[in-house]
């Protein structure tokens, strides 16, 4: 079996409940507000399909559910389909782990890869995840969707262009 190793980990603490955090990660009503307007499509079971879709219907990320244990652990295979040049990257795994921590909830996001990923390619996720998960935290704590602007990850795009797989 191919081994996937953690390359990017982001931890945040949220004043909420595990159930609410689970809902925010798995329902479009929430993802639209903190994940740059993306909707999430899920078959809520192990082996079920998973996708993130842009408002115009384009599939951004596609994969399969590889862990489904509400409200504790949710993991998917993560294949980026858009922008098109990203589609040649091997799929990674994205895992969310939720645990109560005092009167808060600890959320750990782990992005794991099966190959020696160049740092420049990891930079996209390292820019994106803090914005996505800061947004999720604000949304659950204040009810307000933040407007975090992101530049395209230039180093990542450049690295993908030069990548020989």
């Amino acid at each position: 079996m191919t081994e996937f190793n953690p390359k990017t980990v982001y931890v945040t603490y949220i004043a909420s409940t595990p159930e609410k955090v689970w809902e925010a990660l798995t329902s479009s009503e929430f993802t639209k507000k903190y994940f740059w307007d993306r909707t999430i499509e899920l078959e809520p079971k192990l082996g079920g399909s998973f996708a993130l879709r842009l408002p115009d219907g384009t599939v951004n990320v596609q994969g399969k559910v590889i862990a489904w244990d509400p409200p504790r652990k949710f993991a998917v295979t993560w294949g980026v389909k858009w922008p098109a040049e990203f589609a040649k990257l091997p799929e990674c795994h994205v895992t969310y782990e939720i645990a109560p921590a005092g009167d808060t909830v600890r959320l750990i996001m782990t992005e794991s890869h099966s190959w020696e990923v160049p740092e420049a390619i990891l930079s996209g996720g390292r820019m994106g995840w803090p914005a996505v998960l800061s947004g999720l935290k604000s949304l659950l704590e204040t009810g307000k969707a933040p407007a975090i602007k992101m530049e395209p990850p230039k180093d990542m795009i450049e690295a993908i262009k030069n990548l020989k797989l």
Binding site: G102, T104, R126, P130, G135, S138, E141, T142, P146
Partner: protein, 156 residues
């Protein structure tokens, strides 16, 4: 790539650069989001930096290296307990960038030797402290970490 450990944490806060900078440098504010621990410094370059931990008279000391409100703050970081004082001081750098209606706060903690005990501890600690700072500025509420009640019980 060097194998010296470095910890990077980024968070976005719905606030202003001035408020985020104040939260990072003001003793009274630190007590709220740092779970009772207090930052003490006059923030002159070369002055001492002190973090008095709420848990059992423990201290982290350091020196102010850069103070550029409301953009950048750098201090050295040297815990004085549990054998960690034997490690060399490490370095904490905060960078504050305004966004549209948010502030991007980037913290880089580096200067560790390989296998540093302090690095292990701060990798667990910063996500909680900076999540707490974000909540404090956005909602005015502070939160209680999971170890808080347990530690309270063992205090004299």
């Amino acid at each position: 790539m060097s194998n010296k450990p470095k910890f990077v944490y980024v968070t976005y806060v719905a606030s202003t650069p001035e408020k985020v900078f104040e939260a990072l440098t003001d003793g009274d504010m630190s007590v709220h989001y740092w779970h009772g621990s207090r930052i003490v410094s006059d923030w002159k370059i070369g002055s001492s930096f002190l973090l008095k931990l709420e848990r059992g008279d423990k201290e982290i000391i350091g020196t102010v290296a850069e103070y550029d409100p409301p953009r950048r703050l750098v201090y050295t970081f040297h815990p004085q307990f549990g054998g960690t004082d034997k490690e060399p001081p490490s370095r904490v750098a905060f960078e504050i960038e305004p966004q549209k209606d948010q502030v991007k706060l980037t913290m880089v903690h580096d200067g560790f030797e390989a296998g540093s005990q302090v690095f292990e501890a701060i990798s667990r600690g910063w996500p909680l402290i900076l999540s707490s700072l974000k909540s404090f500025l956005e909602t005015g509420k502070v939160f209680r970490p999971d170890w808080y009640d347990e530690e309270k019980k063992v205090q004299p």
